[in-house]
Amino acid sequence: MSATAAKRPTALLATLAVATLLVEAAIVYIAVATPADVNLGIVQKIFYFHVGTAFAMLISLVAGAALSGLDLVSPSDRVDAAARACIEVGVVFGAMLLVSGPLWARKSWGMYWTWEPRLTLSLLVVLLAVSVLILRGLAGDSATGRRVGASLAVLAAPASALIHLAVKLWGGNHPSVLQGGGIQSAEMRIAFWMAVAGLLSFAATLVAVRFRSLRLQQRVDALELDLSALALRRAAKGDA
């Protein structure tokens, strides 16, 4: 058996399975046990996962921003890989948020999108994270690209905090869920926290999986560099 095959991430796969089960349990509970909203009807069931994806996006992007800041202060491949993993997962959950929100809004507000503060800031933060990933993808291993990407990623932290505070600061149509909006019964509360727990555990597992993959890529790159240097030294010795 090769060394690669021997190092299968069993623990990670088990965590991914548990996270998937948590999410599936939440879906079943939402479908079977939660009542339809008195005002919005069945479309309100989007809300359970919409809010969970928002939490996962905000936590991932704030963690990515903090790690990027740390990487700017004291550069480390490990921290860089963790920051990239967080930002990638943040973008995925951001995309889920931006898809599910407008579908809920279509029924609730009568339109898919409106340029109100929380929505606009959410879009801005996701675009910022996408731009960091594009920049890093195109810049490769360049130290400048890494620093510019990290500087851009740091901006996601204050922007994410503003998303959370947007309704309080500037108003707008968006309901503020944690202040009581949207949850009308005990079943709804249970379903909400089940969905949040499932999605957060899924996000954490995905960050761990991507971190492992990025670290492996960094090691492969470093080994390739070492091998090339060794081949050059051998060739130079041969010439001498």
């Binding site: 989007i46 996962f49 898809v99 579908l103 339109m111 731009s131 195109l138 091998l227």
Partner: protein
């Protein structure tokens, strides 16, 4: 490398600047009334939302597995190169 870095920076800037669409006008009152009159079943919207969310998540998991397979293949190729070098 600098050219790729500049392209990346330009793309990143363009994406960030696209947020200025936020200054676009709000929909006119008659458009809003028309939207509200159209009735899209809530169940359909919920179903589309759930399907889209899981498709995105499954897509990311699939892409991650693909990347992982590529890295493992690169690692295997490196192992072979090292074994080949040691044999000589």
């Amino acid at each position: 490398m600098n050219r790729r870095l500049l392209t990346g920076a330009a793309l990143a800037l363009a994406i960030c600047l696209s947020a200025f669409a936020a200054f676009a006008e709000a929909p006119a009152a008659q458009d809003l009334a028309r939207y509200k009159e159209e009735s899209i079943p809530g169940g359909l919207l919920a179903l589309v939302a759930y399907m889209a969310m899981w498709a995105l998540l499954a897509g990311f998991v699939g892409w991650t597995l693909l990347r992982q397979t590529k890295v493992e293949a690169a690692l295997q190729a490196l192992e072979d190169r090292i074994d080949g070098g040691a044999g000589r």
